[in-house]
Symmetry: C2
Subunit: 243 residues, 2 copies
Amino acid sequence: MRFASEQHLDDGVVERGFTLGEIPGILWTSGSASAPAPLILLGHPGGLHKMYPRLVARARHCAAEGFAAATIELPWSGDRPRSATAEEARADLRRALEAGEPVDDEIVDRLVLPLVEKAVPEWRAALDALLSLPEIGGPVGYAGGVIAIGIRLAVVEPRISAALLFAGSFVPHTLFEEARQVTIPLQVLLQWDDEGNDRQMALDLFDALGAKEKTLHANMGGHTGVPQFEGDDGNRFFARHLK
Amino acid sequence: MRFASEQHLDDGVVERGFTLGEIPGILWTSGSASAPAPLILLGHPGGLHKMYPRLVARARHCAAEGFAAATIELPWSGDRPRSATAEEARADLRRALEAGEPVDDEIVDRLVLPLVEKAVPEWRAALDALLSLPEIGGPVGYAGGVIAIGIRLAVVEPRISAALLFAGSFVPHTLFEEARQVTIPLQVLLQWDDEGNDRQMALDLFDALGAKEKTLHANMGGHTGVPQFEGDDGNRFFARHLK
């Protein structure tokens, strides 16, 4: 893990860009922290530059509650090399959506399964590196999108103690089996009026999750309209489980 | 409104029993409040004695956040006179449930519609009386069960500014039409694994609610197992809308 940049944000949060091999990432820590901080991994759909405004807002929110936050670029996104297979699957998905056709399971599998296979070991490698820093103390939470990545991480990574997942569509059917194996506490966010989202599938997936403590928060506001107060609710969820 | 009893609970909350005509009720206020407090009406399924432990816990929680809280007995429940028609509908419901049969819409209508017709004007009369007290200042929220009563109140009572509703089954079909007319901010609690609850109907009802700001919180824990943290979440919901 190599730190490539450092800047001090106006609220005392220190933002450091890093690379982990070829993977770019960002770490946010509170400049005033005196003890090693629990860590929230910030998931996203890929494209750090595009996602930066939302990620930094969530990271500041985390830091205000005493959490460090970190994210890495997803495979085949942002400045990382593209994959012909992934591009093809994305194009097929776009075609189906533009034609108003139902999205074939086979397209979803081609799009999401290789992404999960490649991204999850990368997140775990990032976790190794982040937890070796003196300012990070664990425990660790995962918060954010690509729910398939969050679920796989929750199943295979014992250092993750709680997860806040964003329900979205395009969930491979095999994920329902994995969902039953999740036992860590979960909070799931669903945008009820998100037209690009298969609401019934999101509800079925919430139902399948094996955790004894799971909470669904459904809100209005469309795909990107998660209400402000869910940021505070997320902090309280992590405070209950990571502190 | 006649106050019949007064006791000081150990956390400085003053509990006063009252009667409003033939209707018994309870008012909880913070002994330390210096300004008129916003009011939360605590809904319940009927039977003040049986519900008292849960009601007083919620009232203490409200008082800690600076809210007054009040409840009244429902028609045909607790110490109030019985209704032959209501008893018959309850018996028919019990028979259907014990036989494992689906509950007929006609039974639900006979059970819930007259209750709503009688209870809502009583809640409004209680509100008149409560808002005339110098220690109560408004605005007003409604929190709790019999969702049909909460929805009707939200539609007809302009002094209610926000409602926290407990999703339960046995919802008359006409309620879906009323739900569309609700415009105040709502938070709806659903116990996901409540076997006595028709989950799909609860989700359909949430969908039907006309409010632009509505949030669904689904949790595990069975019918009476609403997690502790939802008490805090409820207070924050009301703090956003009543303060």
